[in-house]
Amino acid sequence: MLDGAERCPPFKRFLDAQRIHPANAATLAELPFLPVSAFKRLQPLCFLDAAQIYRVLESSATSGQLPSRIAIDRDTAKLMTKGVTAILADFIGSQRRPYLVVDRPPHPGQGGAANARSAAIQGLMAFSTETCYALRPAAPGEESRADPDGLVLDVDVIAEFCRRHGASNVVAYGFTYVVYLHLGGGLVASSAALAGLRQKLGGALLPRSYLLHSGGWKKLQQISVDKATFNANVSAALGADARSVIDYYGMVEQLGVVYPDCSEGNKHAPRFAEVILRNPLDWSPCVIGQHGLIQVLSALSPSFPGQALLTEDMGVVVHEDRCPCGRRGMAFRFAGRVPKAEVRGCSDVQRRRAA
């Protein structure tokens, strides 16, 4: 943090204005945090010269809003990959295996900028012996079977992948909503295609697979799909155990750290990161049972000020230590996004400005 501030005057101004300067912080909780939305700017907030920038990662953004833009160098990219690999290896094992991506293949012109979806896909490549993309753009005449991004299941490719690896350990990944659409019953055409494929192949498609997914539940909550239903549908589609469907929490602003659900349904910080849930009233750390704003800390972001970030997500502290899954440290659960705007009183001019 202090090293970065020397290379980033705006960040130095931010640190210098704090009541507790990071040089004097006695605990991690005393370190100043940036809100994740601070990265929603045209010029990425980073500690790098232009020549050092290897990639600029972008979050998804609603129309009219700037996405978060995270500039990383090669060293940071390597650290991030190592971080994700170490965390996920704790859940699915460290061996490399065939990788099924529930998304379309990278397309020409994607360039150096990477969105959250492609960055998350990339993050699992370390586990991959070979990669198969389960979706493709709809061909003319297939539009009615496509998802809102115009993608359909690539049945032939999946069939071939299942034929070759149906008996092997497999890892699969997709954005939560995309997985729901194509594997969880969200799209009738995809469900029918998978049923046909199961019939053709004589049963379960990938019984020894782990399916990881991330990206949030907002769209699924809107259509009242809960986690149990999601897990049951997706695991049934693959013919795998429901416990092998693993939701993880992460963000492009701290891509090297992800928070998968443990066997108890809780999330844990790895050794190179920390999570603090903060009471919205005074930003003090929450205790067991309290809901608070999720703050994430990471040692894996030397190229930008992502060391301590206040998210716009809420969580609840489940255990301060000793989760029954055996992992050490605080265990928490995701408890939803912070609403866009609270209903305010007579000085609520936010909506008018937005209109």
Binding site: A17, L45, L293, M314, E342, G345, C346, S347, D348
Partner: protein
Amino acid sequence: MNGWPRSLLRPGDSAELQGALDTFLGRPLVVGGATLDGIVHGLDAWGQALGAELGQDVGLPFLKTWWRAPQLRGVLRHEFGEGSGLGPLDFREVIDERPWAPVGTVLHWPAANVPIQPFLSATSGLLAGNRNIVRVPSALTGFVEAALAAAPAAADPVLERLLFVAFAHDRNDLACACAARSDAAMIWGGHEAVASVRSLPFPHWARLHVFGPRISAAMVLLDEQTLAKPAELQRLCRRVARETWQFDQQACSSPLALYLQVTAGAEVAGGGREAAEWAFVAALTQAFEEEDRAHPRHELDVRTSVDIALARTSWLLDDQGGKAVFPVGPAWSILYGGEVDRVPEPVHGKTLYVVSSDNLELAASRLDSSTQTVGVWVHDAALEAKVARQALARGVDRVVRLGLMHVFSTPWDGHELVRPLCRKVHFISTRPTERSADARG
């Protein structure tokens, strides 16, 4: 209507509400010589009875003052004029040719951020002689119920003209039922609330009076006189702090930005403009710390909590030279030192932008009708008048000295409070009046 008029109605369905409205609106109201006194003294007595059971809301002392009989009569005198009858309730044996009459039934739709607003709004309707349906936001039901429970017997003439109704904001059926039975409405709140209430099926003759959404600002001329006297500087900063603290900066009259112009004399006395501004910010910091110790926040919605963090960060990260003073938590923030006259998006939650200004008159000329109140501290009377003229001409409705920004009085938002809820009617007798008959005799 179990418990009415001393309980809050929580209708389960439209039929229950319609029945309650039939009963409430069907009861005859007799207006006589004692009616105005009954209502004014009823409010006065009710105000005196409001105590600790209503909690520590900062508006409560104001409501108690607002409901004092001399204050209420002052409002009526201000709006109706001395010696010409104080509105529909000022009963005269001989009817005037152009008397005032109530509009009938007024629907009050207060905002949820000011607990006393249901009562302030209803007072206007009461003084105009109307029946009043007050839709109570869910956040305020406890406050309203406690206030109703405290009402003394003397408040009966008031209570028989009031029906407090609580229902969720998405119960459009209940909102429609209230609107359909109303002849006027006073609507307070944010953009969404105002748009939603305006769209209700009021009768075509209904008059809708809208208050909000607006924001407010402060303007300070930092002169030698203020800067050189620590007591004077503290007095100024205490006033700014109190204006910022009330209603957690979420009322339309809350200052979200403070324009600061340093006079040439103060620049010299203070060791330069930046140093003078810093002296002001240092004094303001002390005042904010003291106000926070005296009135700490007890709750903060999570979105505002995040917005405060983001406002501080954006102010400091943007390359505009922004500086800031704030405690470890989100209790308050003073954001200063940015570009001259640059005001970012308002944040609320006791986040005050101190904006350097070369010329307050020019800054006032850039305001528009989104600004409701400007609180001023300008010892130069000529400049104060220029600032006021500019602001009022541009759409600002109130220019008041710092310390009075939240003092609710008539007019408010450019409206009078009682007369718009009355009708000016016409009576021409078939017989000559006694006076004209006497004159002929």
